[in-house]
């Protein structure tokens, strides 16, 4: 997935989490996934308005490690693209 450069993403920008550059924070707006995958995201505490920070890409760029409610969780781009966030 192509990622926008940091400067192009202004606060308030709505996008999938997979577009969030590392080092930036965003607020969860909606989960697009269903079923088990959705449950799993909710169990991570990804309910709306949760603040999430992109920390670190793995060597190949995917998965990416995110800081979610104090825990560092790695998500593959498939999962991250199902999470709609608003850049802060």
């Amino acid at each position: 997935m192509k990622q926008k450069t940091d400067s192009l993403i202004s606060p308030g920008h709505i996008m999938p989490l997979s577009f969030l550059p590392t080092g930036r924070k965003a607020r969860v707006k909606a989960l697009m996934s269903n079923g088990i995958s959705r449950r799993r995201m909710l169990d991570l505490g990804l309910i709306s308005d949760t603040i999430i920070e992109a920390l670190q890409k793995s060597p190949s760029g995917d998965p990416v490690a995110y800081l979610i409610r104090g825990a560092v969780i790695a998500l593959r781009s498939e999962e991250a693209s199902q999470i709609i966030v608003e850049a802060v």
Binding site: P59, G70, V72
Partner: protein, 716 residues
């Protein structure tokens, strides 16, 4: 690497709900908690049992139980799987939920990570909803202090309405208080009123139709409000589980059926479908957790995890991540190879000195030659070989690997490698199960339970054998030393050995990926499932604990098993080599029979037979081989690997033979223990057979191509 007395000796998931009380006064305590919060350490500290602990998520995949006594009461502590939630999204969660709700424990201890309390509160709150006999154990208080995180335990206890004990289980701190609280809860000496989470009004009014009808009907410690909330989730399996537990169908009660209908109407009228309902429930819990966390947690130094992030930025960086990983592996191998040489020869000297004394003893008492042959030349020598070759590398490799595990590096390996596994349509946690396979493939296969998707779990199970377990390490190291590094001297020798060994391991990893992909394209078709991997905080390893655990739990246990197999194997081989039929020993007959086939793959009949006879344990392949080559039918005395090399060369070994043996050692059938474990885990002989055939056929193909390619090119 999870092989130990406990992890193989305890009962499996299917027996989860069965806890035997030895005496009627015993209390059953369930130990719940998120993965990687030191649950196993708490378990070990309380029970004194050595359940192996490691710093990676989802380690406790089996259920262990142990006993402890506090005050006048005996307790049975049941270590249930580590989960983030009780919503039954995975096997572990279902087991955890079933045990807490239907296993009838007298109390539940929920272990939480003080450095990450908010996330842990999710499970605590869900547990509180199901049962009020809860004691919260906030563990890793020392880590939290180091990270300048303060937790107001009193306020937490006040908020939750249940006792809270702060512990640093690794140092044994706070466990007394924890046990006191557990004792109080089980002897009904506390009268708290646990927190009740308030959900949005429409859910509360729906529940109010159902809850009163359930009171008086649900028994056995089930909480009517919890049952009401779960019934409205429309989860067929849970309804069945509840009915099963109660022994009657709840919906047969008119008041309940009526209340259920009214509750459903209320939800429908508000447009709340089951999916939205679940979302609202989870959100309610997460928000409550957030609110409580805000009241009780003070972070004195914001950015407390900066250090971890800085380390991660190096260890998982685009440029350095993978080279560092390979480098670390190489360093471990180098230390193992270099360090094992000297103790190995000292052990060998000692053990063969004992053999001489034994021989003298047999002479002195005038024992018949066959008895001496069978017991000393057959059994004792095989044992001596296994011990002197295996013990030193294991005693060095295990503590080093445990160190990486303790630090929390292994999840980073999974993080670094995930993309390769994704491309192979496999699960990223397969990298963790491979790490466990380094210790023992049987443990690796059991570890595959951390993968939720059945398809990906099978892929991981079938390919686990491509990681050489520590029974095969000594074989590889011995061959490398003899044939590829032996000519060099000094420091180069161990460096070349290390490079070759690392190359073999990387080949094993590449084969794992190739075969995983192949399986995903053929008999196990499918796409990668969703994947979340927690990267836990780095922790300061405890040197003493690492050494004790890895030597006691792993080295001695694995060695013990090898010795158990080696002794009878030594007997059989000696007998086969010394019983003659038609002018040739049975051993030669069998080897001659296998020889033409084995030659196709660059080996010979004796080698193939050694692999076949090594089915009970890979450790004994080389000893069997040496014994077979010795004309007099027993092993020579082991003085140096150079002598061994001469023996092998005299029997027609070339560098190509050495390579083919190494390749076949890396890729052939799993040992008998692993096969039985695969059968147990997959519940299927078919998949066990596939797990035997896939690595074997791969190994034969690779050896065939290498052997005949080299011959065609005129290299050998």
């Amino acid at each position: 690497m999870g092989l130990s007395n406990q992890s193989t000796g305890c009962c499996v998931l299917s027996d989860a709900l069965h806890v035997e009380r030895v005496s009627p006064g015993q209390k059953v305590i369930a130990l719940a908690g998120n993965p990687n919060v030191g649950k196993s350490t708490v378990f070990n500290s309380l029970t004194g049992m050595r359940q192996h602990t490691g710093n990676w998520p989802g380690k406790t995949v089996t259920i262990a139980q142990g006993n402890f006594t506090h005050g006048d009461t005996q307790f049975i502590l049941v270590d249930i799987p580590g989960t983030y939630s009780l919503m039954a999204n995975s096997v572990e969660e279902e087991v955890a939920r079933d045990f807490i709700c239907f296993g009838n424990p007298d109390a539940v201890i929920v272990v939480a990570d003080a450095t990450c309390l908010e996330r842990n509160l999710n499970l605590i709150l869900q547990t509180l909803e199901a049962t009020s006999n809860v004691v919260v154990c906030v563990n890793l208080m020392d880590e939290a202090r180091r990270k300048k995180i303060r937790i107001d335990l009193e306020e937490l206890s006040h908020q939750l309405g249940v006792p809270v004990a702060g512990t640093s289980a690794r140092n044994g701190k706070g466990l007394d208080i924890l046990m006191d609280e557990v004792w109080k809860v089980t002897s009904a000496k506390t009268d708290g009123s646990p927190l009740v989470i308030q959900y949005p009004e429409v859910i509360e009014s729906a529940v109010s139709f159902l809850e009163p009808a359930l009171k008086g009907v649900v028994k056995g410690g089930l909480n009517p409000r919890w049952v009401a909330l779960r019934l409205l989730e429309d989860d067929e399996r849970l309804l069945k589980a509840i009915n099963n537990y109660l022994g009657y169908d709840l919906m047969r009660f008119e008041a309940i059926a009526d209340g259920f209908r009214k509750a459903k109407e209320t939800l429908d009228a508000a447009g709340i479908q089951p999916d939205l309902y679940k979302d609202m429930i989870v959100s309610g819990i997460v928000r409550k957790a957030e609110a409580i966390s805000r009241r009780v947690v003070t972070v004195e130094k914001p950015g407390y995890n900066m250090r971890d992030q800085r380390i991660d930025r190096i260890l998982t960086s685009r440029i350095y991540g993978i080279p560092i990983m390979i480098g670390l592996l190489g360093i471990i191998f180098w230390i193992t190879i270099t360090g094992a040489n000297y103790p190995s020869s000292v052990l060998a000297d000692g053990l063969f000195w004992v053999e001489e004394q034994l021989t003298d003893l047999f002479m002195a008492i005038g024992a018949p030659a066959w008895l001496h042959g069978l017991l000393v030349a057959g059994m004792y020598r095989t044992l001596a070989w296994v011990v002197s070759v295996m013990l030193p590398p294991m005693a060095i490799f295990f503590p080093l690997f445990t160190l990486l595990e303790d630090l929390g590096y292994l999840p980073r390996v999974a993080f670094n490698l995930d993309n390769f596994f994704k491309k192979a349509c496999a699960h990223g946690k397969q990298a963790l199960t491979m790490c466990m396979g380094f210790g023992c493939n049987a443990a690796g296969v059991v570890g595959c339970r951390i993968i939720d998707s059945p398809r990906e779990r099978l892929v991981a199970t079938i390919t686990n054998n491509f990681v050489p377990c520590n029974g095969r390490f000594p074989t590889l190291i011995a061959i490398i030393t003899m044939f590829f590094a032996g000519m060099l001297s000094g420091p180069f020798q161990s460096i070349v050995s290390t490079l070759i060994l690392t190359g073999v391991i990387i080949l094993g990893i590449i084969m794992t990926l190739v075969i995983s992909r192949l399986l995903s394209r053929t008999i196990l078709k499918g796409l990668p499932s969703s994947f979340t991997l927690e990267l836990p905080p780095y922790r300061k390893p405890q040197a003493g604990r690492i050494i004790v655990r890895s030597i006691l739990d792993r080295t001695l246990f694995v060695l013990g098993r090898a010795v158990m197999v080696a002794a009878p194997a030594g007997l059989i081989i000696w007998a086969m080599a010394n019983i003659h039929a038609g002018g040739m020993s049975l051993l030669s007959h069998s080897a001659n029979f296998l020889d033409p086939f084995a030659r196709l793959f660059g080996m010979d009949g004796y080698i193939l037979m050694a692999f076949i006879l090594g089915f009970p344990a890979n450790e004994i392949v080389i000893p069997i081989l040496i014994m077979s080559y010795m004309a007099e039918g027993s092993m020579m005395e082991f003085e140096s690997l150079i002598q061994l090399r001469e023996l092998l060369v005299a029997n027609g070994w070339t560098w190509l033979t050495a390579i083919c043996v190494m390749l076949f050692s890396l890729m052939h059938w799993p040992c008998s223990t692993t096969c039985l474990t695969i059968r147990k885990e997959t519940q299927s002989w078919k998949w066990t057979l596939v797990s035997i055939l896939v690595p074997t056929l791969t190994g034969l193909c690779v050896c065939f191509v290498v052997a005949n390619g080299a011959r065609l090119l005129g290299l050998a």
